[in-house]
């Protein structure tokens, strides 16, 4: 506290006594003069003048001169002065100015006091808010946090009790500073929801009385709602048995603490969600570990056959899976399966399937019998889990040059028959595993002849969709097989990935995608350099590819592709013109894919291009007649292509795709 006023008062009365030999007191409003007059009886007239606020200038009473001076300015804390003296003199003016001086000092002191009080209070509140923010770091337990909030608020607020009630889904939290739970918080909840600001007792009284709440007996109450992203989740407030105990500062305090609490709750919920996510990711990582450990280390090496696989889970762990093993008589078996479901349950079922597949293979050499036995083994677990598995099993019977296969409800496999230059689909030969306890499967076979290929894949591939919602479908897959069949299988797998990527516009896969390609090697293909390609139908991607072609595909062709530069120039220019035509005419109405293969041997270069766009109409875009006086500004591309090549033909296939064949023969005269 500042003592300026008292110090000054003491100094002045000391000075007065020295000057006049009398006495002096300064009295604040309504102060009793007797308490302060040392050994001197206050004359009745002087007392009356003091009490009525009249001024007295040196009047003689009881043998002394008396003065009564009132400070006129300040209303709130009026200061008066009573003085006596035995010596006459011009003391009146002196006393007036002293009183005024002292009064000013007093006013300042009071102001300073108030300022100090406000400062201390706001400091406390600031500290409170700071401490509230610290709570989040101290514990992860929400109810402990809320207890801390109530304790802190009770230290700062001038209230009998502080309460905080949270309405959780399962349990509710009801914390008070006093330790007694708040009775009937529902009544306060309803009121808090209705308004965005803290509610006072006056607004609540009626509702409390109607609900017969013991809170109605409180003389003052303040309550604020706690609002989070999920809506009103709780209330926070102050209680006091004194009337009008809470002021605007308390309203502000309750509002800001309520805000802090809602931030605390939201942060805690976010943390809990993150923790759950981390747990889930951890679980998925373990499942992925299990699943990848079950995949074969490498694919079998089979005379005359080449194999390649792709497996792209949609999330960390999917249900697509492939496996290889051998039958009792030594034939290789390959399985591609799709376990319905994701995550660890799918991984566990995959592990079961893996075990059953290997165990049963040792006893049976027929894929149909194997599937039937695996079904019997897994039926109980699959039924309990309410799920199923589709699986395609193929046995490579090399001595008889045939694929023997059986399919448990699996999506059709594609079989490329080279001599007929066509794709045939191999449908399921029985129900998925886990549907019927005694599943019946039939085995079928297909010839392993040079150039024939088998594409086994999951439905994630044929059901991949583009931005317009169109599926790849069996036809899209058949088109791809038709375009790239002559290339080494690993390149075909690369093309499949690229095709899916371009077709879906680069979106993350919605479902797992798995594929196995098995192809009977064709000697002729080995002598020929086949470069399969899948290009988005844009001019830029075509020019990039043409540039590679013009350079003879550096780094991509196996062996030496010693083609004469003039042949590469002519073919790449013709290719560029034809592919540009596909972009501008076949795909005039939107995005698309251009696919095909570039094949070269010492005799000729042959390029096949496919698009799934509008039919080519030679009359519409074809070769304009050149009027030397008024030549057309466009349409020279195909004329160039036709002129540069030995063969440049286009055909419409299956009513859905265009096939361009470009052939350039290499004559012996040409220099490499």
């Amino acid at each position: 506290m500042i003592n300026t006023q008292d110090d000054a008062g003491v100094s002045l009365s000391h000075l007065w006594r020295t000057l006049t030999g009398g006495g002096l007191v300064f009295l604040s409003q309504s102060e009793e003069p007797h308490d302060r007059l040392e050994q001197r009886k206050l004359p009745g007239q002087v007392r009356r003048a003091y009490e009525s606020g009249q001024t007295m200038h040196g009047s003689v009473h009881d043998g002394a001169l008396w003065w009564v001076v009132h400070e006129a300015e300040s209303e709130a804390s009026r200061l008066s002065c009573i003085a006596w003296s035995s010596v006459e003199g011009p003391w009146g003016e002196l006393l007036t100015s002293w009183t005024e001086l002292l009064s000013r000092i007093a006013a300042r002191t009071q102001e300073a006091d108030e300022l100090t009080k406000a400062l201390v209070s706001s400091w406390d509140r600031l500290t409170l808010l700071y401490e509230l923010m610290q709570i989040a770091g101290e514990t992860e337990d929400l109810s402990l946090m809320l207890e801390s909030v109530v304790r802190l608020l009770a230290q700062v607020a001038t209230a009998r009790d502080v309460f905080l009630v949270l309405r959780e889904k399962e349990t509710s939290i009801n914390v008070t500073a006093s330790g007694d739970p708040l009775p009937q918080p529902e009544v306060l909840f309803e009121s808090a929801v209705l308004t965005q600001r803290p509610v006072t007792l006056a607004e609540l009284h009626r509702a409390l009385r109607e609900a017969n709440s013991p809170l109605a007996r409180m003389k003052d109450l303040l309550v604020a709602g706690i609002l989070t992203e999920e809506g009103h989740v709780g209330i926070l407030g102050l209680l006091d048995p004194l009337e009008n105990n809470f002021d605007a500062n308390d309203v502000q305090l309750v509002a800001s603490v309520a805000e802090q609490v809602s931030a605390l709750i939201q942060a805690e919920k976010a943390r809990a969600r993150r923790a759950e996510q981390t747990l889930l990711e951890h679980e998925l990582a373990i499942a992925a570990e299990i699943q990848s450990s079950l995949l074969p280390d490498r694919l079998p090496e089979l005379a005359g056959l080449e194999l390649a696989v792709m497996l792209e889970p949609a999330r960390q762990v999917g249900g697509d899976f492939y496996d290889v093993t051998r039958t009792a008589d030594g034939d290789h078996l390959l399985m591609l399966a799709d376990v319905s479901g994701k995550g660890s349950p799918a991984a566990l079922l995959t592990a079961l399937l893996h075990t059953a597949f290997h165990a049963e293979a040792a006893h049976s050499d027929d894929p149909a019998v194997l599937l039937s036995n695996v079904n019997e083994l897994l039926y109980h677990d699959l039924d309990k889990a309410g799920t199923f598995i589709t699986a395609f099993v193929v046995k490579f019977n090399l001595p008889r040059q045939e694929f023997v296969y059986a399919s448990a409800g699996h999506v059709d496999a594609a079989y490329w028959q080279h001599d007929r230059q066509a794709v045939f689909f191999l449908p399921a030969t029985g129900l998925p595993l886990g549907i019927e306890k005694r599943g019946e499967y039939r085995a079928r076979s297909a010839e392993i002849a040079e150039g024939n290929a088998l594409w086994v894949y999951s439905d994630g591939i044929t059901e991949a969709r583009n931005e317009r919602g169109t599926l790849v479908g069996g036809s899209g897959l058949a088109d791809l097989v038709d375009a790239v069949y002559s290339a080494p299988v690993q390149r075909q797998i690369d093309c499949l990935r690229r095709y899916l990527h371009i077709f879906t516009g680069g979106k993350a896969p919605e479902d797992d995608m798995a594929a196995v390609i098995v192809r009977a090697v064709r000697r002729e293909d080995q002598a020929c350099h086949a470069i399969p390609f899948v290009l988005p139908a844009t001019l830029e991607s075509i020019y990039d590819f043409v540039e590679q072609m013009r350079l003879g595909f550096p780094g991509r062709s196996a062996g030496n592709l010693d083609l004469p530069q003039s042949v590469l120039d002519d073919v790449s220019l013709a290719f560029s013109e034809v592919a540009s035509n596909q972009v501008e005419h076949a795909y005039a109405d939107g995005d698309g894919v251009i696919l095909g293969r570039f094949e070269a041997n010492p005799m000729r270069v042959e390029v096949h291009l496919f698009d799934q766009g509008l039919p080519f109409d030679p009359d519409e875009v074809g070769l304009p007649l050149i009027d030397a006086e008024d030549p057309p500004e466009r349409g020279y591309g195909l004329r160039l292509a036709f002129g540069l090549l030995d063969v440049c033909e286009v055909e419409r296939l299956h009513g859905r795709k265009n096939h361009w064949q470009l052939v350039k023969k290499i004559s012996e005269k040409m220099e490499p």
């Binding site: 120039d569 050149i626 008024d630």
Partner: protein, 116 residues
């Protein structure tokens, strides 16, 4: 690709494109020829000596430029094409549209046509 353009004292304009005249470069080249046409020159020679590749979009640019120059009362000759450009012009029958000369001097003097 870049294009050099110069004007002779006698008024003829010589355009010298360099590099590849393909879909990536021919739009700019077409604009260049159209700008030249605006000055209404009597004679423009496109010297193809340094063009090592031309495709249909390059040919289109030449045709478009020639038409603009003709409309303004001038003419456009081609000179010194390399083998690839000459083949492209012949395959598209544009050798019947453009006067093509073996050298720049021939094109300026309008003698010794390469085209039939």
């Amino acid at each position: 690709m870049n294009v050099e353009t110069r004007k002779l004292e006698t008024g003829e304009i010589i355009v010298l494109p360099k590099g590849r005249l393909d879909a990536r470069t021919s739009l700019a080249f077409k604009e260049e020829l159209r700008n030249i046409a605006e000055a209404q020159p009597a004679m423009v020679v496109v010297d193809l000596e340094q063009v090592d590749f031309i495709d249909s979009s390059g040919l289109s640019a030449l045709v478009s430029g020639m038409k603009a120059i003709r409309q303004n009362g001038g003419m456009l000759n081609l000179s010194s094409p390399r083998q690839q450009a000459l083949t492209a012009l012949r395959l598209t029958l544009l050798d019947r549209v453009f006067p093509i000369f073996p050298t720049l001097d021939d094109a300026l003097e309008q003698g010794d046509l390469l085209s039939p």
